[in-house]
C-alpha cells in the first residue's frame, strides 16, 4: 500500500486545476488570475515530480479507486510509467507556457478569457493520462476538444474562427467515433475498465470494428497523414501559447489513447498487417508533412506542418511494437518527450518573433536575428532536436527508433527516418538561413518588444538538451516502468 500522499496525489491533479479554472473565471482581477495560475502550475509540477519518482522507482502503477466502487461498477484511476511521464511533461510544459502567457497577451479581454480555458485544457490533459476507464476517457476527450476549440477562437480573427470551427467539427466527429467504439465494446463485453477489458478481449468482428472506429477517431484527433487537413490551419492561427500546447500535448493525448487501445486493451485484435498499415501512414506523414513545411510561406505554418511530420515518426514505431515491444515503447515515450519540449519551445519563440515583427511571413524575416537573438537561439536549439542532431533529445529518440528497426529486421523504416531527417534539416535551415543572412537589410521593428517572457521557452530548450545528455538514465527509467 503506497503512502497517503501518493494516494491523494492523483485526485489532487484532477481537483486542483479545475478549482483554479473556476477561480480564474470568477475572480475579476487579471493580476490575481496570473498569480494563482503560476502558483498552481508550480504545485502541479511538484506533485508530478514526486508521483513520477514514486511510480518509476517502485515500478508498479498507482491505483485509485474512485467512490470506493471496484472497477466493473466504478471507475479506477491508474498512473503507470507511461502515464506518469506524460503527466510530468504536461505539468512542466504547462508551467513554462504559463510563464510565457503572463507577458504574452496585449489585451486584458483576451487574457481574462484565456486563463479559465487554459486550466480546463490542463485538466483535460491530466484526466486523459490518469483515466483507466474507456467512457471516462471520452468525457476527457470532449473537455480537451472543446477547451482547445475555445482557446483557438479567443484569437478572434476570421481565420482563427474558421479554423476553430473546422477543428470543432473534426474534434466532435473524432470523439463520436471513439464513443461508437466504446458503445460496441460495452455491448460486447459489458465492462468499461481498461484492465478488465484487456482480460476479456477476444478476436471477433465486434472488437475489430470497435478498434477500427476508435483508431479512425483518434487518427483524426492526432492528425495522422490523410486526416491531417485541419491541423495546419488550427495550429498556425491560434495564439502562441495555445499553439504550443496543442502541438506539444493535445495531439499526444489522442496518441496516448490510441497506443493504450492497440497495445494494452485490445491486443488480441492487433495484427501485423494492421500495424504495418499504421507505419506506412506514418511514413507518408513524415514525407508529406516535411515537404509542405519546406514550401510553407509563413513561420507558424511551417512549424505546424512540422508537427504533421513528427507525428508520423510515432506511428513508425507501431510495426516495431510486435517484435520488440520494450524497445519500441521506450523509443515512443522518448520521442514524445523530446518532440513535446522542442515543439513547445519552437512555437513560443515563433510567437515572440511574430509579435515583434507584427507578422510571420518568412520572406520578410531576413536578418531578424540582430533584433531577437534569444528567440532565434531557442528556435535553433529546438530545430536541432527536431532534426535529430547529436546532443539533443531528438537525436536519442531517432537513434532508439533506428536501433529498434534494425533489431526487429524491418530496415526499410530506416530509409524513412533518414529522408525525414534530411527534409527536416532542409526546412529548418531554411528558416535559420533567412534570419541570419543580410543582417544589414533587417526590417526595422515597430513598437516595443522584450524577450523576457521567453524564460519558459528557454527552460524547455535546455530540457531538450538535458534529456539528450542524460539519455542512459532516462531510457533505463522508462524501460523499468514498462
Amino acid at each position: 500500500m503506497p503512502p497517503t500522499f501518493y494516494v491523494i496525489s492523483t485526485p489532487l491533479l484532477l481537483v486542483l486545476p479545475l478549482f483554479t479554472a473556476i477561480l480564474c473565471f470568477v475572480v475579476p482581477s487579471i493580476s490575481i488570475k496570473r498569480y494563482i495560475s503560476i502558483f498552481v502550475a508550480v504545485i502541479l509540477v511538484i506533485i508530478c515530480i514526486l508521483q513520477a519518482s514514486y511510480v518509476l522507482d517502485s515500478a508498479e502503477p498507482l491505483h485509485v479507486i474512485v467512490g470506493g466502487w471496484e472497477p466493473p461498477l466504478g471507475i479506477k484511476l491508474v498512473v503507470n510509467g507511461f502515464g506518469s511521464i506524460m503527466l510530468l511533461m504536461t505539468s512542466i510544459i504547462g508551467l513554462a507556457i504559463t510563464f510565457y502567457s503572463i507577458h504574452y497577451f496585449e489585451s486584458n479581454d483576451k487574457e481574462s478569457r484565456f486563463w479559465p480555458l487554459w486550466w480546463f485544457l490542463i485538466t483535460g490533459l491530466l484526466g486523459v493520462f490518469v483515466s483507466s476507464d474507456i467512457f471516462n476517457t471520452y468525457i476527457m476527450l470532449e473537455l480537451l476538444g472543446l477547451a482547445s476549440v475555445s482557446l483557438i477562437a479567443i484569437q478572434g480573427t476570421q481565420k482563427a474562427l474558421q479554423a476553430s470551427y473546422q477543428y470543432l467539427l473534426v474534434g466532435l466527429l473524432g470523439s463520436l467515433l471513439y464513443l461508437l467504439g466504446v458503445a460496441i465494446i460495452y455491448r460486447t463485453y459489458g465492462v468499461l475498465d481498461n484492465e478488465l477489458l484487456a482480460e476479456l478481449a477476444q478476436n471477433n468482428l465486434s472488437t475489430k470494428l470497435a478498434l477500427a472506429f476508435i483508431t479512425l477517431g483518434m487518427m483524426m484527433k492526432c492528425a495522422l497523414f490523410p486526416l491531417h487537413f485541419w491541423l495546419p490551419e488550427a495550429h498556425s492561427n491560434a495564439s502562441a501559447p495555445v499553439s504550443a500546447m496543442l502541438s506539444a500535448l493535445v495531439i499526444k493525448a489522442a496518441f496516448f489513447i490510441l497506443f493504450t487501445f492497440w497495445f494494452e486493451i485490445l491486443t488480441p485484435v492487433v495484427t501485423m498487417s494492421a500495424v504495418t498499415l499504421m507505419g506506412f501512414l506514418g511514413a507518408c506523414a513524415v514525407i508529406y508533412g516535411s515537404y509542405r513545411a519546406f514550401t510553407a510561406p509563413r513561420l507558424k505554418l511551417l512549424v505546424a506542418y512540422s508537427t504533421v511530420a513528427q507525428i508520423g515518426y510515432l506511428f513508425l514505431a507501431f510495426p516495431l511494437m510486435i517484435d520488440t515491444p520494450e524497445l519500441a515503447r521506450t523509443a515512443i515515450i522518448y520521442f514524445i518527450v523530446a518532440h513535446g519540449c522542442a515543439k513547445a519551445a519552437m512555437f513560443l519563440s515563433a510567437g515572440s518573433i511574430q509579435k515583434a515583427a507584427g507578422h510571420d511571413r518568412l520572406a520578410e524575416l531576413k536578418g531578424i536575428v540582430i533584433h531577437l537573438p534569444v528567440s532565434i537561439f531557442i528556435f535553433a536549439v529546438a530545430s536541432a532536436s527536431l532534426i535529430g542532431l547529436p546532443p539533443s533529445g531528438g537525436f536519442i529518440a531517432k537513434w532508439l527508433l533506428l536501433k529498434n528497426a534494425v533489431q526487429s529486421g524491418q530496415w526499410w523504416w530506416v530509409v524513412t527516418l533518414f529522408i525525414g531527417g534530411l527534409l527536416a534539416s532542409a526546412y529548418l535551415f531554411r528558416v535559420l538561413n533567412l534570419t541570419f543572412t543580410s543582417v544589414d537589410q533587417a526590417p526595422i521593428l515597430s513598437g516595443t518588444y522584450s524577450e523576457k517572457k521567453l524564460l519558459g521557452a528557454a527552460v524547455l530548450a535546455i530540457i531538450t538538451i538535458l534529456i539528450g545528455l542524460n539519455a542512459i538514465w532516462l531510457t533505463s527509467m522508462i524501460g523499468s516502468s514498462a
Binding site: Q158, Y165, L168, L180, A183, R187
Partner: protein
C-alpha cells in the same frame, strides 16, 4: 433465420442511422447541416447503447442510460459552442461585406485591382 428481437431491431436501425449521419456529415458542405449530422451520429450511438441495455426486457441495465444522459448533455454543449462560432463567423463575413460595399461605393470609377488590394489591409488592421 435469426429471431428479430426489439434490441436487434433497434441496433440495426442505429447502424443505418449512423450511416445516414456519416454520409450527411461527409457529403454536405452546409456547415449548419454538418452540425446536425454530428447530432444524428450521436443519436445513432445512443441508440446502440440503449438497445444493448434492453437486450433483456425484464432486466434493464442502468449504466448505458447514465452514459447516454451524459452524452446528450455533452452533445448539446458542443452544438452550442459550434453555433456560436458559426454565428461569429457569419458576423465577420457580414462586416467585411459591408466594408467592401462601402469601399466600392467610395472608389467608383477607380480601377478594380486597387479596391481589391485595399480590402486585405483593412482586414489586417
Amino acid at each position: 433465420m435469426i429471431m428479430l428481437t426489439q434490441s436487434i431491431l433497434f441496433s440495426i436501425c442505429a447502424a443505418i442511422l449512423l450511416a445516414i449521419g456519416l454520409m450527411g456529415f461527409l457529403l454536405t458542405s452546409d456547415f449548419l447541416r454538418k452540425l446536425l449530422a454530428l447530432n444524428v451520429i450521436g443519436m445513432a450511438i445512443f441508440m446502440v447503447l440503449i438497445a444493448a441495455a434492453s437486450a433483456d426486457p425484464n432486466a434493464i441495465d442502468p449504466i448505458p442510460h447514465a452514459m447516454v444522459l451524459t452524452g446528450i448533455v455533452v452533445a448539446a454543449a458542443g452544438t452550442a459552442l459550434g453555433l456560436n462560432l458559426a454565428s461569429k463567423i457569419a458576423r465577420f463575413a457580414r462586416s467585411i461585406q459591408n466594408e467592401n460595399s462601402t469601399q466600392q461605393n467610395k472608389t467608383v470609377g477607380s480601377e478594380k485591382v486597387r479596391s481589391e488590394k485595399h480590402t486585405p489591409d483593412g482586414k489586417g488592421k
